[in-house]
Amino acid sequence: MKRFGNWAVFLATVMAVASVGISALADPAPGAAPAAAGGAALSAPASAQGSGTPAAPAAGHAAQSGYLGSEACVVCHENYDKTIEATKHGFKGNALAPASKQGCESCHGPGEAHSQDPANVKPIQLDKVAADVANGQCQQCHNRGEHALWDGSQHENRNVKCIDCHSVHSAEGPTLMRAKTQQLTCSRCHQTITNKQQRFSHMPVREGKMTCASCHNVHGSVNVKLLRVGTTVDQSCTSCHTDKRGPFLWEHAPVVDSCTTCHDSHGSNNDRMLQAKLPFLCQRCHVTSRHPPTVYEGFTLQNSGNANKMYGKACANCHQQVHGSNHPNGKFFLR
């Protein structure tokens, strides 16, 4: 901890003081429950749900009007309550969990009308209502942390539903994901991206040391491309590759712009996940005089001292500090 500077101590203190202050002002009245953020239909006919007609928010406990309690639901929908018992939704110790609120009706709306006319009055069926209605049910509680910036995010824009990736009742993977792994979940729409993990130069995703969510927050972020950390591509990458973060005495322009100018972080069949093979990747920009625009081909490779611009690290055999140099002679990233 000694390596943390005064910054950390100061800001942590400010944060703690601010938090306590805010919380003191923010505590809701005892017993109050969050309202339905999405304003979803609660007991409307199925046809109305399909059109996403808004209705009154859910509130109160099972004893409130229209709520029957989970015990009534499982009379017909047997075993459904069991499927959430071991999940965080089933943990009564969490005031936000359905188990500590109206149980099934926390997400599906009050069931009294449905119980009286099961054929014509349906509870909220998240797979049948509009995306914003379905998501609104989840956002009653999932409106903070990871999910704070869901509204307006790229996936929300495309009417993706929470249940497209997650399943509360029959999850196969972690965090209630439908598929067994996060990569498989993402591949449902991004298979052409996740296929890149099979290339020989790749992040340790297929080895289980990273997931798509290591870099991306699919629920919304302040960065581009739903990147989880930082406010630029570079800040995201250098949150792990901190040695490349700099700032350096001598900078390389594309490095400052974006790591993805040269690297394909999803996987590549070039060394170091480069977008193209060296020296050709460098030659896309370096059309100067002398050796950078030389035609590097087989004759050179077999017969010339210039072969060292092609084998091994190619251009980086000399320009090793291509991410930036802190040496006084570092203008050309040689030292």
């Binding site: 944060m15 601010a18 938090s19 805010i22 809701p28 969050p34 953020a37 808004p54 075993n79 459904y80 797979d127 409106n143 903070r144 942390g145 704070a148 910036l149 307006g152 995010s153 498989l184 052409t192 296929n195 099979q198 020989f200 289980g208 040391k209 919304g220 302040v222 950390v229 930082g230 406010t231 630029t232 949150s239 973060r245 700032p247 005495l249 001598w250 400052v256 712009d257 093979k277 050709f280 920009c285 370096h286 005089s289 002398r290 625009p293 035609v295 081909e297 004759f299 077999q302 001292g305 210039n306 072969a307 060292n308 084998y311 091994g312 690290k313 000399c318 040496h327 006084p328 030292r335």
Partner: protein, 812 residues
């Protein structure tokens, strides 16, 4: 297996099993199995491999021995606790635990992630593991030559005639370079064989306190060490490539904190992120393999005492020094807010300030005594002392973001997003007008009064990014929705060719779920990017910035027309069958612009096309028998244009006959297949089989007048394709003797074939005729002394390996 049977049996075998791409048919939930609190999967791993074992292991530790997966869960009404350990005692071991009650959550993790580069690396250098690399003086003297002191030109590696003008000091010939290295290869000095592998050890902890449903405080702290070695280039000249096994000793400490307040109308969050990176090896000092003494020809500047061509032929110092990654830190504070005007109209926003600092001491200009002497320093007074003692590097960054989303009307949804990011580099410009190239030659930038900037001073790149994205989505009732969007991305830069770049993109998208079993997502984007304010646009210049052809446009800022399209189609025509098709394409055309001088040509990357298809099918015979296959095909094609020329006023600078083009085309095939047969043998056994394949064929097609002239002179040989072929087969069988006790056997085979001219020939007996593997067959033994190089042998090499996992399963 790797993370022992977890990340292999769980990730490898289970992963293919989860290939299901299409919507999984809704199934009635089954009652949970007998609740278990613990699970142990322990056993032994054994097997063999051939070839590049490090690449086989890559991010894993596959050494024969024990495999471990332990999991334990405790659920009560008051708290929940879970813990897991995998691959205990190995380089990829992982431990995690979490305690969770209604108000408090603790979690901790220790995770090791290896990165294995190469296990058979060879190096003549010895190291103290602190960045100092030495070579035997007698060997270096042997290369340098006994007559070096007088530089009579007879010594190998000293092709510059004594006292001759710089023009005669050409790059070393292939023969001399080869001869140099042959001394090392034949001297009897055996290279040390060592492993090149680095490992990250991450220790992290998380604490979350939820005082009420409305308020939470979260703290995250982690420390990550990165230790080991990596292959590192450390060359003394353009024709003398050297590679070292560089030791690493780095650590990053992080603290994140946020407090959050939420109610049913809004949310406010305060964030802090601090990251402190420390590198304990910041200086690399290494012996020159072809010099035992600093080159000194006894002449006066500009002809000596250094070799003016030393940066090219290697006649430089005996000792070089390079700066490795400097310690640095980042601090960031931010605030995020969300407010619901109505349940269907939301605005959220974020404001973040980030501060990055780096102020490490600077190394001296050089250790070369032929430069650090009064005669030379009189000629290059800027080299007497450093302009400043430390880097004083600083960047401040401001980021703010506003999202607006409204769904008040059922037939239309409005969404808009604006993002602003200012990367402001505050580092004082560093005066490097006089500098030392490759520790060998002092040089000086001559100011050109025609240019508005001073060559030799450090450049810092200021970037202001503005992103606007606005979309309207129109509902088509049961037929889905159509989205129309507009995006504008504007870059205001300092230090790049174009000071401003503006891109407008129009977007059309369609999303639907049809007939309850078909899902369609499609989009088409069309963008036009244009640059403005080219920094030399008003000047009649011969050279572009940084000595480039004036018609070069860097592709990341050049004028560009972009078309992108995407299709995701999935369907469940039957309850048991899911099919999908995905397609994406990007077509970029990079254009010349009005600022290119008349008569000059546009150089650089001219175009790139990226096409990717994926199709697949999954079939579920029942809840216990599933199989599927997914095939992907990618094609990447790029065209670039260059000119092989000497600097002006050399006539080649403007000679179109020196132009050449390269079409680079890569085709990739990917196959993922799986079969899961569960509940065999009276529901006691599970069988899972997986197969994965990826191959690529990378072609390089040169053409243009320069290629024709080289061919006519017999100096052009087309490069062979670079070809990769990777396959993995996995099978796992589990049999439960009782509800609690079971046995498991797994097998995993992986094969990688590669033919890559980038990797040196492997046959030490093929010295004179040897070449890259693209031309001669590889034998698997690393070669380190090819033309002009003294390498470690690290490269793209084939491997094959298999592992058997036998273990016992216990549920409790």
């Amino acid at each position: 297996m790797r993370n022992t049977l977890v990340v292999t049996v769980a990730a490898l075998l289970l992963a293919p099993a989860g290939l299901a791409q299409a919507q999984t048919p809704p199934t009635k939930p089954a009652p949970p199995d007998v609740p278990t609190q613990g699970f142990a999967d322990v056993g032994a791993r054994f097997g063999s491999d051939d070839g590049d074992e490090a690449r086989f292991e890559r991010y894993r530790d596959l050494r024969p021995g024990a495999t471990t997966l332990l999991e334990w869960t405790k659920n009560t009404d008051r708290y929940r606790f879970n813990a897991a350990a995998t691959n205990i005692g190995y380089r990829d071991q992982r431990y995690a635990a979490e305690y969770y009650s209604g108000k408090v959550r603790f979690s901790g993790v220790f995770d090791s992630i290896p990165l294995n580069y190469f296990y058979d690396a060879n190096s003549f250098w010895t190291t103290d593991d602190q960045g100092r690399f030495t070579l035997p003086a007698d060997i270096r003297l042997g290369v340098q030559g006994p007559t070096n002191a007088t530089n009579d030109g007879s010594a190998v590696g000293v092709p510059c005639a004594p006292g001759g003008p710089p023009a005669t000091c050409n790059a070393s010939t292939a023969a001399s370079a080869t001869a140099n290295r042959s001394i090392y290869a034949n001297t009897g000095l055996f290279p040390q064989t060592q492993d090149i592998q680095v490992r990250r050890d991450i220790i992290g902890g998380n604490f979350r306190y939820m005082r009420s449903p409305a308020f939470a405080l979260t703290l995250d702290a982690s420390t990550t060490s990165k230790t080991g070695q990596m292959p590192w280039a450390a060359s003394y000249a353009f024709n003398n490539a050297n590679e070292l096994v560089l030791p690493l000793d780095q650590r990053n400490n992080e603290l994140r904190a946020n407090s959050e307040w939420v109610n049913n109308r809004g949310m406010v969050r305060l964030d802090y992120w601090g990251s402190y990176f420390t590198n304990d090896i910041q200086t690399l000092t290494w012996d020159n393999p072809i010099r035992a003494t600093d080159f000194n020809n006894g002449l006066l500047p500009p002809n000596g005492p250094y070799d003016p061509s030393g940066y090219s032929n290697g006649n430089g110092p005996a000792l070089g020094q390079a700066a490795l990654w400097p310690s640095n830190n980042l601090n960031s504070v931010g605030s995020t807010g969300m407010f619901k005007f109505t349940p269907r109209t939301t605005v959220n926003a974020n404001l973040t300030y980030t501060f990055m600092r780096q102020n490490e001491s600077l190394l001296p200009w050089t250790l070369n005594t032929s430069i650090n002497n009064p005669v030379v320093l009189d000629e290059f007074p800027g080299l007497r002392q450093l302009p400043r003692a430390s880097s004083e590097a600083a960047v401040n960054s401001t980021n703010w973001l506003v999202n607006f989303s409204s769904r008040e009307l059922r037939w239309v949804t409005i969404q808009a997003r604006y993002r602003y990011n200012d990367h402001h580099n505050k580092t004082p410009h560093f005066d490097g007008r006089e500098y030392v190239r490759f520790d060998a030659v002092p040089e000086e930038f001559v100011d050109d009064p025609a240019t508005p900037y001073l060559e030799g001073f450090s450049e810092y790149f200021q970037i202001k990014r503005h992103n606007l994205d606005a979309n309207g989505t129109f509902g088509l009732k049961a037929f889905g929705s159509v989205r129309v969007g507009y995006a504008n991305e504007r870059y205001d830069r300092e230090g790049r060719g174009f000071s401003d770049v503006n891109e407008n993109t129009l977007r059309l998208a369609y999303d639907a779920r049809l007939f309850n079993y078909v899902s369609v997502r499609a989009s088409l984007d069309n963008g036009r990017r244009r640059g403005d304010g080219y920094i030399l646009s008003e000047i009649d210049y011969e050279e572009g910035p940084a000595g480039t052809q004036p018609g070069l446009r860097y592709f990341d800022e050049a004028d560009r027309n972009r078309t992108r399209s995407m299709l995701v189609f999935s369907a469940n025509p039957l309850d048991q069958v899911g099919v999908f098709l995905q397609f994406t394409t990007t077509r970029d055309t990079f254009l010349g612009d009005e600022s290119i001088p008349e008569g000059r040509e546009h150089f650089g990357l001219l175009s790139q096309d990226i096409n990717a298809w994926a199709v697949g099918v999954d079939y579920s015979l029942n809840d216990r028998v599933q199989f599927g296959v997914n095939y992907g095909w990618d094609k990447f094609a790029a065209t670039q244009k260059s000119r092989n020329a000497n600097p002006p006023p050399d006539p080649t600078w403007t000679d179109p006959a020196r132009n050449w083009f390269l079409d680079n085309t890569e085709k990739v095939n990917t196959v993922l297949a799986y079969a899961d047969v569960l509940g065999l043998m009276q529901s006691k056994a599970d069988l899972r089989i997986g197969y994965e394949m990826n191959d690529s064929d990378n072609n390089f097609n040169y053409y243009g007048p320069r290629i024709e002239s080289l061919s006519a002179a017999g100096q052009f040989i087309p490069l062979p394709n670079v070809v990769n072929d990777w396959r993995r087969f996995t099978v796992d069988f589990k049999y439960y003797v009782s509800r609690a006790v079971g046995l498991g056997v797994g097998y995993w085979y992986e094969n990688f074939d590669v033919t890559d001219w980038n990797t040196l020939d492997a046959d030490p007996n093929n010295f004179t005729g040897g070449g890259p593997v693209g031309f001669y067959p590889s034998t698997g033994t690393p070669r380190i002394d090819w033309l002009g190089g003294l390498m470690t042998g690290y490269g793209n090499r084939p491997y094959s390996g298999g592992r058997v996992f036998a273990r016992m399963l216990y549920r409790f």
